[in-house]
Symmetry: C2
Subunit: 204 residues, 2 copies
């Protein structure tokens, strides 16, 4: 049975731990492909072009927008971030599964353009814990942190648009949950019922 690959979108409030879950998941699931976002922002010291991001010019990014070549993009603090469409859709056609780790707004856009996408929302153990994590990072002012918390609550309210949630109070369990979600999606009848019947009919 020829199967298309799955497009799995992992999203959630900043600080909920989606990056760590995806990183650990990718280490354990070598056949999964991770989509690299394109951005116009400058690379940070330890960032590598083509690994953390594809670092491209503003002109190139706007060309991608103009030719509808992005699955989603956002414009934040003067910089663009987006997901190249062609690579993702080609991988899926070839039967490869692709993981996207993106913000809530982007996830909604992906679902619009590609309704078969599987949306996974990573939940922090609590808002208090989320705040602790952001405070510990030490990169933001108190006001920025308060804004972030308010946004996190707003983001959690969008969860009904997602297919699955992962409660990130334990990293190992969270990664196991993501693996189970992807495994179960591969066994969903609605994707394959006609092909399944055909396989057995051809035997008769």
């Amino acid at each position: 049975m020829k199967k298309k690959g799955l497009l799995v979108v992992v999203s959630g409030p900043s600080g909920a731990g989606k990056g760590t879950i995806c990183k650990n998941f990718m280490e354990l699931n070598k056949e999964m492909l991770l989509s690299i976002s394109s951005t116009t922002r400058n690379p940070r010291e330890n960032e590598i072009d083509g690994v953390n991001y594809n670092f491209i010019s503003k002109q190139d990014f706007e060309d991608l927008i103009g030719t509808d070549s992005l699955l989603e993009y956002v414009h934040v603090f003067g910089n663009y971030y987006g997901t190249p469409k062609k690579w993702v859709l080609e991988c899926i056609e070839k039967g490869k599964d692709v993981l996207l780790e993106i913000e809530i707004v982007g996830a909604m856009k992906v679902k619009e353009k590609y309704p078969d996408a599987i949306l996974v929302f990573v939940l922090p153990p609590s808002l208090k814990e989320l705040k602790n994590r952001i405070v510990t990072r030490g990169t933001e002012t108190i006001e920025q942190i308060e804004n972030r918390m308010a946004r996190a609550m707003q983001e959690i309210k969008t969860i009904e648009k997602y297919d699955y949630f992962i409660f990130n109070d334990n990293l190992t369990r969270a990664v196991d949950d993501l693996e189970a979600i992807i495994s179960a999606e591969k066994n969903k009848v609605n994707r394959y019922s006609q092909e399944i019947v055909k396989i057995y009919e051809e035997e008769l």
Copy 2:
């Protein structure tokens, strides 16, 4: 978050291996409860009342039917088989997951009475392999086997009414698939989105 238990219905053509999958699954998942069917047929030599079936009288069974106390029942070769409703629904209310291993007709009836049920269809590796398994059992005539094969094909055509399929070409993988399906279902947003939002709102 208070969660209801899941009702997981494992079904499929006779000989596809649903019994073995469920047995192995139950051994690895002690917190899952297995529903014991009631029947009016006589116990076979190695069968234990309350373990393989609840063996009850025809009168008692018809009383269960009359009082709508069965989640599903069938009448085959002069005998009744059915799933007691009260026990199953009580377990689910208490948050326990319940596994039913039943025939296709019964599975359809369960979905009607309890739409939240998760229906899993066990597929044989091929019709040829299914035939081999039934022939090897040595309990049926050639005509009975041919009838069974025709019925198996008819049954496979009902797969679109199921939520998931398990392709039983490898028992370990089949059991893993069932575990992943149940795990993923526990992480589905649609069952819990309002409760999730409430948990975080209460923190504010």
